[in-house]
């Protein structure tokens, strides 16, 4: 049974957050069932937090790193990729499809990239079974 209207959580680094704002400024539409949570830099994401979000009501997580423009870390992309890789492993261990995570670098004016990533993830999630919302508490 496919997921009808998947819920997407977006963790956006500070530049990616501006990119999302820019999409708004230019009225680039994307599915409304998507929620941006701002973080200064996506390297602060614990892999467990991504699993936690999936266990508690989201069908997918889009990690929108600030990319090479990150004002915090010049190697934000590499470090964030490491976090996401560990999150993939954690998901697999828990029997969850790793394709529920999307990673992209979004700059402060990357309005199209932002909207397209949300759309892409949304349509990919549609093909998956809905996440079980059993609210299991995970460690971390």
């Amino acid at each position: 049974m496919p997921t009808e209207n998947p819920r997407i959580l977006v963790f956006a680094g500070s530049m990616a957050y501006l990119g999302a704002d820019n999409a708004g400024l230019l009225h680039k539409e994307y599915p409304s069932n998507s929620f941006v949570v701002k973080v200064p830099c996506t390297t602060m994401l614990r892999p467990g937090l991504i699993l936690y979000a999936l266990r508690h009501g989201f069908d997918g997580v889009f990690v929108a790193s600030s990319g090479p423009d990150c004002p915090y870390l010049p190697d934000c992309v590499e470090r964030t990729a490491k976090r996401v890789e560990s999150a993939y492993d954690l998901l697999k261990k828990n029997g969850i499809e790793p394709e529920r995570i999307q990673l992209a670098g979004i700059c402060s004016v990357c309005s199209d990239a932002f909207a397209n990533n949300v759309k892409q993830l949304h349509s990919r999630l549609k093909k998956l079974e809905p996440m079980r919302r059993d609210g299991l508490l995970v460690s971390q």
């Binding site: 680039k28 929620f35 602060m44 936690y52 009501g57 004016v109």
Partner: protein
Amino acid sequence: MPERIGVYVCWCGGNIADVVNVKEVAKHAAGVPEVVVAKDIMFACSDEGQKTMVDDIKNLKLDGIVVASCSPVLHEQTFRRVAERAGLNKYLYVQVNIREQDSWVHAHDKKGATEKAEELVGMGIEKLARATPLNPIKVELTSKVLVVGGGVSGLTTALELAREGIHVTLVDRDRYLGGFVRRLPDVNPVHRPGKDVIADLYSRVVSTGNVEILSGTDLLEVSGSIGHFRARFKERSGHIRHDADRELLSRAERECPVEVDNEENFGFTRRKAIVLPDDRVPETPYIDMEHCIKCGVCQRLFGEGVSFDASDIEFEEEFSMVVQSTGFQPYLPGRGEFGYGETRRVLTLPEFLRLADTSGKTLVFNGRQVRDVAFVYCVGSRQTETGGPNTYCSRYCCTSTLNTDSYIKKKFGSSINSFHFYRDIRAYGLYETMYERASREKGLFIRYDPASPPSVTAEGERVKLVTKDSLTAGRDIEVSADLVVLVTGMMPSEDGKKLSAALKVSSSKDGFVQELHPKLRPVETTVGGVLVGGTAQGPKDTHESMISGAAAAAKASTLLMKGYTELEPYVVTVSEQKCNGCTQCVTECPAGAISMVEMEGRQVASVNVAMCKGCGACAAICEPEALQLIGYTYPQLRAMVSFSPQPLGAQSK
């Protein structure tokens, strides 16, 4: 932690309310137990909106507020001040973005947008319910500013700051100041030689007595943050005394046996290995050691005053703020682009201006008099159709070309014929009158389509241009000219890009420095304490560059007059109880802000808040979650992401 929360949902006129049912959102929020009051407001940022919130905080004894409106980029500071005015800690306020990230992107899904707003507000409440009062980190600011780049914008910034009594160090890698304007023979619209404009500006800067000028100096390194930028310079030796006698200098120049192309004039003239300032500022000569053969002619004249092996001087200084005014560089056409590099008779506008300026009474190129000049506009700008990287308009070029046309006619007589191959003429503002005049003065304007740009081919001593004139039914038009001038656009300078990278300043897609907001914060960058002025931020003419340079000075002085600035307290804290002493965070920290300290007989991590940049990289890898990024703690984030979309009232009880 807040237990009496007020929620305010903004209409933003119709910007939000036309899509999101704001009354529903407020009603929904009112169902949360911690929420004491939830209202919709026409304009939360208006005086009236602010007063409503201040009154509520006071009368209802609120201990935290959530404002759902535009992006926090715009009004976070406004609403923090609201909280402060009402006696509330300003960090006990959370802004929820339901405009840029909701109503503006879901205009065709009103129901979805309303539900989204409800959830975002819910998440905001969860975050606020776990927030603690915070105090900003105070950083003292000394009145010392580094201005990088001594073009018109940097000179203007230096002048305006110095007038306020602020000490400025102005550094330019070039030995002479003034950037590109120095080489303009006729600056529009004042119609004076650029070097005069620069000399005036320079003497005003010098007369303040407050500016240390480091020309011919490389900025080797710059690091740090607001209040504490450290810069390392290398002042290149000129190998000859600055105050060398003028007459002797002229003699030395005459006698110097080395002659090379003068780069100031793109090789249209030659110069000696000993270089005289020639109306440039600062008025200091230098010996070009790259070409000097150490024959000793000048040494015989100046004795000790000349020293071939004088070494460069390296030194370091600290500044509280930095202004990036690194300017632009002209687009350089590729080989074969409109014939450039294939025939010498195709020049860029910067090259042509130097040719015209250094020519006598007649315009001569390669020994032949020039009568017919063809200008091709938009070269290296607006490359959307051609697939080039520069999609933007360079602003200055249409007017500068029209000005160049009238300048050469003024200088060389109206026997010169000009042909303008243009796409659109953007002679904005009063410059429209120049376009009108140029059209009247028998300049021929031919409009080309970017899909079929003019072809340029050499024909003996002349050049042939063929294009379809889109205004005369697309017929082929052929023009034969003595010279073709490519009107090249502006690109961010390579040195400027390096500086941005060192300072971690973000650039826009086009490579220019990104301002924080084009209207509200036009000279601030993504890095606190780093401002931008002039064409480093984007294409501008001289006038606009000076306005922008002055704006950067005004912005810097408001901060410096106060003597301190406040930084966000979003740094990492350690729970010593939880820390297991693994030391991984020490290696993970990119700022070197974490060290291990002894506490009750064991090693625990300790964070230096002045150095912590607040990225949270360390917190992510801390096994026992002993490190938390204030403002974004994991308990806060977990509460936000596990917030249930179900009707709130029912769920939370």
